[in-house]
Symmetry: C2
């Protein structure tokens, strides 16, 4: 106990201890993630093909799998100081509630107005757009975390920000929409009459409430049809994982400050941006043979891309207009069950995370949502922070691992990523509070339409 | 600039630097705040009269105007470590946007799930209730910040928490309600059939959407009619200001760490809990003749208790069942305009704050709400945090003072309290974003009904 007393509830890095470079785990990977393919030619996407859609510098980051460290521009370092370093919290209260010998830490990314880690990449993408002299960027958003983060970043750099928000969310989540508007973004419910693809979908399905795939298609069309605009994306891409490595780098620095050696590292997995960012520096050590960790990706049982998906080339969007990526996927035609409450509903998974998983550097587990909300409630009550449903997947498994330690008496050190807060997810919490939340595990037959939608590549 | 470079964006105290005592500014006041009076006898409320409603230890704190420091119990210090110390933020980005030579700092109390400073007193009140062996506590809540804070505190100490929530908020702010339920509180829309006073009001006004005064009456009746329950309150009372002194004590410690001498200290004023907590240690220095500051209380022009109210004994609640307090008040019969968007709609003001203001230790200004939201928007865009409407009153005046420095070239150091975040106030932000927010300044005639409701004491 005396040795433990030295570790505070929250470990904050000094400004001088904050990372000044992002880490690109691909540089240390022997088996590199497979390249993005042009869906028409099935050939790797070239720099010139990608720069029509993305900013030049971001394309360079996307394609570079040999440079290990990228300097974080001074302007982005300044912005990071607004809400970073995020605390690495020792979950003393949770440990006590579980009566476990395990030591639990979590890296909390929710202490900013976007409410999640998404801001780490949003500010980088806005910066490079501004530096390239662009007028603005377009993007899609579902529940709104990414759109909020991007609107904050664009406001800071005085960039026009156009968000296509899935219509059902636009109407049912007006608060998120208003946060984006407060930061000066224009928010359009998707599908809309402002794009050709939107007009087409509205003509075919007049009453549709929209989908993320449709919103992506509209955002990409808008970006490529306006002078001085590019499209930006909040997850899945290599560039996003690069920016999100700030999470893992800060975590490592905070652990090192108190000579803490983690045994297990846990993150929730949707598109893979938070998980990839958190684990990158740790996976890098494993790849270089310097250390060994148990890394666990946690996904919803209702959208189990790692645990039940196929490792194959697939479309990144349901509209099938984006490049093909090799990843663990349920197929772009997979549609999550309507009872699915949290995020993490993406059919695929970052190519980097997919390759690391394929090469045995991490495990993956899937969990059911009522158990996830049970963990969320327990965590909220003892640790004080109301977690986002996405983050609560990691909490569930962290608690399960800590309870295993209680059985075995092992004093393992567990680190998990708490990606954000649940303030805008109270509809899901209400379902849980009212006892009407249900679980769904797709049968093998349920997964067939998704697999049938996979393109015929390699 | 070289000297400034040493000051980080966020000043965090180490755990070892956190205050271990609350400061009771009344001990240093020559003119003590007038005592609470029994509304029936017009005599000062005794310990025994008050302990029927409040926990014993809280009554002692309420009545003690000579003890300068109270030890913070270890259990509360532990809980504080969950979300404190709160950062003292150097508003570099705001300074740059304003192009002012002023140095601006804000103490940010919103980084916890209740979203405000209210948790500082909620945990203390829950602790003393638990220590006394009580089963639970009752309270009222309007918009829900206080109810959320209390539900978190009660969950931590496993106390039953019964919240009477103004019916219109219960229905229109379901998210706040669900946060409270997630923390295990029972939330009852007020007026309700669960109390006699609720039944009476419902019989007289069948369609009423409730009021804070009615909810207070129900909560007090519930507490005093159940074995093992007491009533708790989130503002106005001396005990609350005592607990909230943690804000000012941390602010002083953080300033001292970097040898910063503030010139102006600004806080928003509703019931006075945040303002009183922030300024207590500074006012104490002034009272002891050790330092001099400009202290500015900011209130809404539509509810101007300090700037246009009377310094008189008044009822603390609109139901007129609570003790009489001497304070700056608009009269318990004053009803804020329906266009009033933010909080800070209380008719009176903490007796401590009122006395300090009466004795010339602070100034007060009132501001109109469209100007408040304009400041909120500007702050959100450059400092990243979406502020609560209440807190934005302080932002407005901090910006105004910084702009005066720009005119005069003075390098004043301004400190203000940022009490919370605005995530649950997006309806008000939407009004502002849509350009339909209006201002209201009551005429002298508008204030007459409130003044006419003042009791005939002294």
């Amino acid at each position: 106990m005396s040795e433990e007393k030295k570790i505070p509830y929250k470990i904050y890095l000094e400004e001088s201890e904050m990372p000044t470079q992002w880490y690109n785990v691909r540089a240390d990977m022997k088996n590199k993630p497979a390249p993005l393919l042009n869906p028409a030619t099935k050939k790797p996407m070239s720099f010139d093909e990608l720069r029509a859609v993305f900013c030049d510098e971001l394309v360079r980051q996307e394609l570079d799998d040999t440079t290990a460290y990228f300097d974080i521009p001074a302007e982005i370092q300044d912005f990071y100081k607004m809400y970073r370093p995020s605390p690495l919290v020792r979950a003393y209260f949770l440990e006590k509630a579980l009566d476990t010998p395990a030591k639990i830490y979590y890296k909390f990314e929710g202490n900013n107005t976007s409410g999640s880690h998404k801001l780490n990449s949003a500010i980088a993408q806005a910066y490079y757009a501004k530096k390239q002299g662009l007028k603005g960027v377009t993007t899609e958003t579902g529940a709104g975390q990414w759109g909020t983060a991007l609107s904050m970043a664009c406001s800071y750099f005085d960039l026009d920000c156009r968000v296509y928000m899935v219509k059902v969310s636009y109407e049912q989540k007006p608060f998120r929409r208003e946060v984006m508007r407060t930061y000066g973004a224009s928010v359009t419910p998707s599908p809309s009459e402002t794009t050709k693809v939107g007009q087409k979908i509205l003509a075919e399905h007049p009453g549709t409430s929209g989908s993320l795939g449709c919103a992506i298609s509209e955002a990409v069309e808008a970006a490529t049809s306006m002078e001085g605009y590019r499209y930006v994306l909040g997850s899945v891409l290599n560039q996003v994982l690069l920016h999100q490595s700030i999470i893992g780098l800060e975590t490592k620095a905070a652990l090192k400050k108190y000579d803490i050696q983690p045994d297990i590292i846990i993150g929730c997995a949707g598109g893979g941006s938070n998980l990839g960012g958190l684990i990158s520096p740790f996976a890098g050590e494993m790849l270089r043979g310097e250390a060994n960790y148990r890394i666990i990706a946690v996904e919803p049982a209702s959208c189990p891309s790692l645990t039940r998906g196929r490792f194959a080339y697939d479309y990144c969007d349901t509209g099938m207009i984006c490049p093909l990526a090799k990843m663990y996927t349920l197929g772009s035609g997979f549609i999550p069950s309507s009872n699915h409450a949290g995020g993490l509903r993406y059919h695929g998974m970052s190519s980097v995370v997919s390759q690391l998983y394929h090469d045995g550097l991490m495990e993956a587990v899937s969990v059911e949502q009522t158990q996830v909300f049970k963990a969320a409630e327990q965590f909220a009550r003892v640790e004080g922070t109301l977690p986002a449903p996405e983050s609560s997947h990691a909490i569930r498994v962290a608690i399960d691992e800590a309870l295993k330690c209680k059985e075995t008496g092992e004093e393992k050190t567990i680190v998990f990523g708490l990606t954000g807060t649940g303030y805008f997810d109270m509809v899901a919490y209400q379902k849980y509070n009212d006892g009407v939340m249900t679980d769904y595990i797709p049968t093998d037959a349920d997964l067939q339409p998704g697999f049938a939608s996979l393109p015929d590549v390699e």
